[in-house]
Assembly symmetry: D3
Homo-oligomer: 131 residues x 6
Amino acid sequence: MTTAPLLLVVEDEALLHLALEDELADAGYATMVLSNGAAAIRELKADASRFRALVTDIRLGTGPNGWEVAHVGRELCPTLPVLYMSGDSAGEWAANGVPSSVMLSKPFAMAQLVVAVSQLITQSDTSSLVS
Amino acid sequence: MTTAPLLLVVEDEALLHLALEDELADAGYATMVLSNGAAAIRELKADASRFRALVTDIRLGTGPNGWEVAHVGRELCPTLPVLYMSGDSAGEWAANGVPSSVMLSKPFAMAQLVVAVSQLITQSDTSSLVS
Amino acid sequence: MTTAPLLLVVEDEALLHLALEDELADAGYATMVLSNGAAAIRELKADASRFRALVTDIRLGTGPNGWEVAHVGRELCPTLPVLYMSGDSAGEWAANGVPSSVMLSKPFAMAQLVVAVSQLITQSDTSSLVS
Amino acid sequence: MTTAPLLLVVEDEALLHLALEDELADAGYATMVLSNGAAAIRELKADASRFRALVTDIRLGTGPNGWEVAHVGRELCPTLPVLYMSGDSAGEWAANGVPSSVMLSKPFAMAQLVVAVSQLITQSDTSSLVS
Amino acid sequence: MTTAPLLLVVEDEALLHLALEDELADAGYATMVLSNGAAAIRELKADASRFRALVTDIRLGTGPNGWEVAHVGRELCPTLPVLYMSGDSAGEWAANGVPSSVMLSKPFAMAQLVVAVSQLITQSDTSSLVS
Amino acid sequence: MTTAPLLLVVEDEALLHLALEDELADAGYATMVLSNGAAAIRELKADASRFRALVTDIRLGTGPNGWEVAHVGRELCPTLPVLYMSGDSAGEWAANGVPSSVMLSKPFAMAQLVVAVSQLITQSDTSSLVS
């Protein structure tokens, strides 16, 4: 409440930007939506602590992919909740994902995204209070 | 995103069909809503893999009940997420439910249905990536 | 479905009452919203079993705080799902919270509240069926 | 401590009886080891509440199999922790197992059995205290 | 490995001291076993961070009981894993226990104690790495 | 039972080999204990499916470290349970670990290792049955 928690959303398909922003705004989140991995890493390096979670596609055109963005995010902020979205790269999650992350396999329902990101943030906050 | 995940919903109370469809559509799901167990089993046998989850009432008038529908669904597709809804039959879940299923005891809030089905689908997808 | 599950919401900031009520009503919950701990404890003592969950702020002005309200709720009804909301008191949860409760650290998104309360209720109902 | 919790163990391979008994005794459990499903159901019907958990093989020669034994156990005592052990029948667990049960796929290490049964009992006890 | 993790064990029944020490030593833990709550609180206040977990009975004769010992432990060290053991006081855990604690209801098997304390420590360590 | 499940254990401190082997043998596991990452990767590439879990230290002298060994293991076998052991590298787990892995921070008790590896194997087996 009061201030909307800020999510970093990385998705190279520009047609999806509005749908993601709208859905997450309805759920009470503010979003910074970026189209490529280099921009995402730049924003993480500028100040990772302002983001309550990272939501990232895997394939991001040229430059770093979603695995690399999440890796950098976790190096800067080990407690960053991470949610991957992917179609054909979901199978690589077991080897390339970070611990305590979630992979949403496309196609998925918007409610899956909202529920998963909400749970990850609450769990991360809760764990930090007892550990 | 892109294509809405399809849920098989079995509920013999026709007055609830529209409310269930609307709520699940708002959450981003497509639904096939059926009124009895025989029809549900027929659709599962035709192609169980098109359904991302089964949402079923327990008492379904004449014919197979919800326990039987879920049992058939899991025989055809061991990974099918299963969510039961019931009032007076909830107490039988410990003996008759399938593993990793959820029982929603009536009355419940629509958000409980949306959150539970979204979690079950994400968990099932995620587990399949590491096992 | 049919009857909306009733939540006891305790929040001393009156400006938030409407937002909490609206959001929880959209999710399918009925709410009794109170402004202080004494009133909350009175309602719990009158009949704790009518509430499906307790959602409480920690600092509640004069009188009992949120830790005390939850403690009384659990003494009357050991199965009561408990969700705390707080800003500066979140750090005391490890020592003062009850088991199986959730702490939402402010600021949080409304979706975090809806998802957490829905999960707690479903888990509590489910556990009661196998234990 | 004081009194050893009693486990009902059902295994038709008599050569394994001693190993199971020894290992569970070392872990602090008392065991009633039976060779077939009919005997197990008879003991459950006599007094299911004296058993803190059921550990059962699936294939049990003639008479009821492990799925049926667990089903009866849960009808008599919905909170009974259930642990199945199997080789070739593990794949049927998704359709035939009861909720909150565990399936140990043979071959397994004795530590898997001890850890799983200990966890199931502690979880069941814990859940009963808040639900 | 190398240095045994130290557990603070509080149990007023002196006859159980040796059994608890032996069992936990076999599992690889060092123990400081105390007979009353005042001594336990004194040791926690001297340096709570040297203990990897607190294992405490509820009824401890005169002086502070197990609920109070755990409360002090968590105030000093919010990440302290807490495991309660009790017979007749288990029912009060829902109101008096701390979050993320475990209640072992007597009688229990020694393996339940070892498995629960091992899990709590590993979970606490793991959570601290991502939150 | 019958055949002991085989664990791949990678630890560059030779003095610990015997302790790890003994403890895991007592728990019912067979072990292949190796001293460096190159040997571990060679054995994984030869046949990853024979191992029921990977237990690896992070620092392994010259050659690949534990993060790399686990990465290769998961590429070859996405369902491989992974357990890391480390002292000073535990803090890098959030960025470098694989999903659903466990990090044991040294010093730890042998029971933590046995409980964690047993749980990971049972969970992995169980998940594979419903997903």
